[in-house]
């Protein structure tokens, strides 16, 4: 208990310090609220307008929770297929990396042209940003199983499937989870970007609306909600990891 507290207080102090500096400089230099609202302005706005933004938050959350599992599934399937078919990995892996140089925001208009303004283009966009970190992390995890254990499995006469399920898959779990954590935050970002390109609700839509009204304080509230959503998703995955990878020795320092 004491050790978790030890880990938590330094970043906590840093955040408090940062907010204090922000608040002070806004009032000292008389910065206008439509350029940079102070933290207290933002807090006041979020508490007074909680109901107005609640629906948008739920819409974004819903979109994320549909897109993220689909993106995860696609990433895992790609990783497994490329791992089990080495020739396909040699052929497609470079293309996969190349494809990541196309910014997802640039794809958004195309997706609208192809799939319209419904749910489908948004899910496709989230899937596109999510699957890559998971696929890469899982693939590297699968191919980096311990040599000594691999020799043991082979000498014991294990089949390719047994090697996969009993050695490669469990040893890839830690790196699969680091891919999942990255993708979780990407998924929230993907959902917001998807809402920019065509939606009538959601945090992304709300941001655009408030930006045109120069309600900078409300834009900040939206940003705070995005951060919060990402953190919650991240925490859920970290908890899941703790439970599934409980065999791993914890570094206590």
């Amino acid at each position: 208990m004491r050790s978790t507290w030890k880990q938590i207080w330094p970043p906590l102090v840093a955040v408090v310090f940062f907010l204090a500096a922000w608040q002070l400089s806004v009032s000292l230099f008389h910065i206008e609220a439509w350029i940079l609202p102070s933290p207290t302005d933002i807090a006041r706005e979020s508490s007074s307008n909680a109901a107005g933004i609640g629906d948008h938050t739920i819409a974004t959350l819903r979109l994320t929770l549909i897109g993220f599992p689909i993106g995860t599934a696609v990433g895992l399937i790609v990783a497994l297929l490329l791992h089990l078919l080495p020739w396909a990995k040699r052929a497609l892996y470079p293309l996969l990396i190349l494809s990541q140089n196309v910014p997802s925001i640039a794809l958004a208009p195309l997706l609208v042209i192809w799939f319209g303004f419904g749910l489908l283009p948004k899910i496709v966009l989230i899937t596109l940003v999510c699957f890559f970190p998971i696929a890469v992390a899982t693939m590297s995890g699968l191919s980096q199983s311990d040599r000594m254990m691999m020799n043991y499995m082979k000498m014991a006469g294990a089949s390719k499937w047994q090697i996969f399920t009993k050695l490669e898959l469990p040893s890839s779990l830690p790196s699969l989870f680091s891919g999942l954590k990255i993708s979780a935050t990407y998924a929230v970002m993907g959902a917001v970007v998807a809402e920019w390109i065509g939606a009538d609700k959601g945090i992304g839509y709300y941001m655009l609306l408030q930006k045109s009204a120069y309600r900078t304080d409300r834009v900040f509230v939206a940003i705070a909600i995005i951060v919060l959503l990402s953190l919650v998703l991240f925490a859920i995955i970290a908890l899941l990891e703790r439970w599934l990878v409980r065999w791993k020795p914890r570094r206590n320092s």
């Binding site: 254990m149 020799n151 014991a156 009993k166 050695l167 779990l173 065999w247 791993k248």
Partner: protein, 281 residues
């Protein structure tokens, strides 16, 4: 008690000399050669190696490092195929076939996501289903080797010596009759090592299995083996074959006997000569 000491899947009549005379050897390696090419340069690692492990015999290989002992194990285990020569077990040629031996690597190589009990049962799991009976047996064995209470623990919670005992048990409970032990104690400190040697000696004498044992440690080989093959440096070939005369059951006191000291001196000298040759060339 006797139920516990008997390993399943095989009925060993304890040290019956007639059986070992008539039955084909548990392992017969004949004329194995192996080269590896690295950057267009051929390096011969093993040169015409022939050796035998009779049924229920403990045979050791000692030699300088880099003498190709591990490559030999990989060939016997079917991980690599020899350039020449054959591997037979119980009279049948099995060159290049996997799943015929039970293996214990240098490091324990226990699977970190498996509990100790599940680790010990891994080899049986690979060859077939693991029933409640096998689990019960594994638990009894774990208790026998001083690991009771650790059945549900993960490997990282155990000390080095305990992990090594679990790895040994994994090899012992494997359904294959022949055990290959690849320098199993090399990573342990001196005290734990001698403790493990005594432990292995006692355990082996109770449950005779056919064992091929690689070690750098001459005293360890003399204490445990029926026969020792002394390997040369690269390319590895057999320089000497030494039959160890001490009767069984052996106790650690034999290390003080003049015969033991004489053999130890002889083997050390051969090893030193080999090392010297390597440094000269």
């Amino acid at each position: 008690m006797s139920e516990v000491t008997q390993v399943p899947h095989r009925n060993i009549e304890k040290s019956s000399p007639t059986l070992s005379r008539t039955a084909p050897p548990a392992l017969e390696v004949s004329g194995i050669s192996k080269s590896f090419s690295h950057r267009r340069r051929e390096t011969e690692v093993l040169h015409k190696v022939s050796l035998q492990v009779e049924q229920q015999e403990f045979v050791s290989i000692v030699g300088p490092s880099g003498c190709g002992k591990s490559t030999l194990f990989h060939i016997i285990g079917g991980l690599e195929s020899p350039d020449a020569g054959t591997v037979s077990m119980n009279g049948k040629i099995v060159t290049g076939q996997r799943g015929k031996i039970s293996y214990m690597p240098q490091q324990p190589a226990l699977f970190p996501w498996r509990t100790i009990e599940d680790n010990v049962l891994l080899a049986s799991e690979i060859t077939g289903e693991v029933g409640e009976q096998a689990r019960e047996e594994a638990r009894q064995w774990l208790a026998k080797v001083g690991l009771s209470g650790f059945e549900r623990s993960y490997p990282h919670m155990l000390s080095g010596g305990m992990q090594q005992r679990a790895a040994f048990l994994r090899a012992l409970l494997a359904p294959q009759e022949l055990m290959l032990l690849d320098e199993p104690f090399s990573a342990l400190d001196a005290l734990t090592r001698s403790e493990m040697q005594r432990w292995l000696l006692e355990l082996w004498e109770e449950n005779r299995r056919s064992v091929l044992f690689i070690t750098h440690n001459i005293e360890e080989a003399l204490l445990l083996s029926n026969r020792i093959y002394v390997f040369s440096g690269r390319p590895g070939s057999i320089l000497h074959t030494v039959d160890i005369p001490f009767p069984r059951p052996r106790r650690e006191e034999i290390t003080d006997s003049p015969e033991f000291i004489r053999l130890k001196r002889q083997l050390s000298q051969w090893m030193r000569e080999e090392q010297a040759k390597r440094t000269l060339t």
